[in-house]
Symmetry: C2
Subunit: 328 residues, 2 copies
């Protein structure tokens, strides 16, 4: 990973870690709340709550005012992980057993529900005029995430997935939450609504670029730096951008071979070799990089529109570099 | 069931049915939204949304202003049913197959999540000063419901369940939602906060009395009028008020026999006879009726405190009679 903006991210990380510790659930019944504390303490990168803090500060709010709403975004994200892991039958998350693996599906459903509801509470310090727009965005983001998750589930058995289906799915699953995290930060700082909208669109395109990069790195990344198993998406027949581009830009013969491999779930290394060869022949990697570039450019265009001095925008550029330079 | 207040309930029912039809989900993906429409159209008694409308009208708001928040309460209630049915492995709900039975657990989890989020949207027509208190109550109610559901799940393997454990569980699972439905109606009508609190406490005690009555009717009700299978709770070893009172007020010998029967899941009719004999000897039914009376009296005391003319309170009395006179 890029080392450039570490001090900058470290500061937000410390704030967020302290806040998560402070607001740890101490209520009864512990069977409901311990799984919530468990997933929150096995921290991911906490990029989404950082986005709230970053936007709030850039637009002039004290970071403290955005801290609880930032946790609300983090809790919300973890609620989706708990429920998604049940649906995906995932045994591990961030290297540790998932909640449904440890405590069963019922506890995972209920702890997820509880975490979503608790997330709403973290906006309650805001005055009514800020509370309402933040909650509207928050709710709408949740609804789109559910839709995105449903599309993702449907993809598995759907024959004619197109790039535009894929783009909608990743927009809902990844783009919108990043967009909303920035927008909520901006609203808390009472940013002009045009700027709040621009930072929303910046976040959406950054999130999309990030997700496409994730698909790209599955095959073309350095496993050690990327931190995920090489070609995991191919093993699982995931309809990633690489697969979709390869299906669109391959000869009939190659497409038939691709369909053959994607009709089986197998650990056979021949599958990985075969599929990767087709991906390369179709220049699927290059096409993915072009899409990443396109959405990065769009993100920067929205950032440019925002009425803030360049110094205030530096954090957004640093974050973009951090998120998108994971290949290097 | 009592026929007394039917015109009165019919009017609300018509309003609610029309609103549910009007706001039926028409969005994509249909795999997410059709299960929501399915459970909403297989209407229950819609008591909870009626409570919102009833309180709003009593305190002087036009019923239309409360209609969407009332749907929010109904959607929320149905979200809990979808997820509870997964946990209980219930094959049927209101006489039709449950969502997880029809579409699998994953769809049921996601449709439940989506319905909870959609419920929040139904408050968005309220101005910020009403939106915030309503959402606070709504969220807190959801959290307590999750806690109540967790306690209920834990009861199954818990040896020392006491009446006070039971009372907390039914308060969270049934009392609070009725209480909040009334309070939200009152807030929408800008009722004085003391009155909003009183109608909350009225609803909580009414809900508790209703739930105890439900336990009572399982054994002592007329199956045809009650509409549920006789002694279903005994078959399922449910720790109802009848069981808890019998455990507390039986001889050592009877308690041993009760524990014996509750250690097996069996359809053996001897179990039902045996357990019912112990319930009767311990006067568990009479003790339950005393608790129902206690909470009904409390409810009416709170109702008496409210600063409204008697004519405006009649609807609340009619509803209480309707809900509690199910034996007659």
């Amino acid at each position: 990973m890029s080392t450039l903006p570490m001090t900058f991210l470290d500061r937000y990380n410390e704030l967020l870690s302290a806040a998560i510790e402070k607001y740890k659930f101490r209520s009864e019944p512990k069977e409901l709340y311990e799984p919530m504390n468990y997933i929150l303490s096995n921290a991911g990168k906490r990029i989404r709550p950082m986005m709230v803090l970053m936007a709030a500060e850039a637009f002039g709010a004290p970071v403290e005012k955005a801290l609880k709403p930032a946790l609300g975004i983090e809790f919300f994200h973890n609620f989706t992980l708990i429920h998604d892991d049940i649906m995906d039958e995932a045994p591990l998350r961030r290297g540790v057993p998932t909640i449904h693996t440890l405590h069963g599906t019922n506890t995972a459903i209920l702890s997820g529900d509880g975490l979503l509801l608790k997330a709403y509470k973290f906006f309650e310090d805001l005055e009514p005029e800020l509370f309402k727009p933040c909650i509207r965005i928050f709710t709408q983001t949740g609804i789109l995430l559910c839709e995105g998750q449903q599309y993702d589930v449907l993809f598995e058995n759907q024959e004619n997935v197109t790039y535009s289906h894929y783009l909608r799915m990743i927009t809902y699953k990844t783009g919108i939450l990043a967009a909303s995290a920035f927008e909520i930060g901006a609203i808390i700082a009472k940013a002009p609504s045009a700027d709040a909208r621009s930072i929303f669109n910046f976040g959406m395109n950054l999130g999309i670029a990030f997700q496409i990069m994730d698909d790209y790195l599955d095959v073309f990344g350095d496993e050690k730096k990327f931190g995920k198993k090489h070609a995991g998406d191919i093993y699982e027949n995931k309809k990633t951008i690489l697969y979709l581009m390869a299906r669109d830009f391959s000869s009939a013969e190659d497409r038939e071979e691709l369909d053959f491999w994607y009709s089986k779930k197998t650990d056979n290394i021949d599958k990985i070799y075969g599929v990767e060869k087709i991906f390369k022949k179709a220049k699927a990697g290059e096409k993915a990089l072009l899409e990443i570039q396109k959405h990065t450019d769009l993100a920067f265009q929205y950032l440019a529109k925002i009425n803030l001095p360049d110094a205030k925008k530096q954090a957004f550029l640093d974050l973009s570099n951090y998120l998108l330079k994971r290949v290097s």
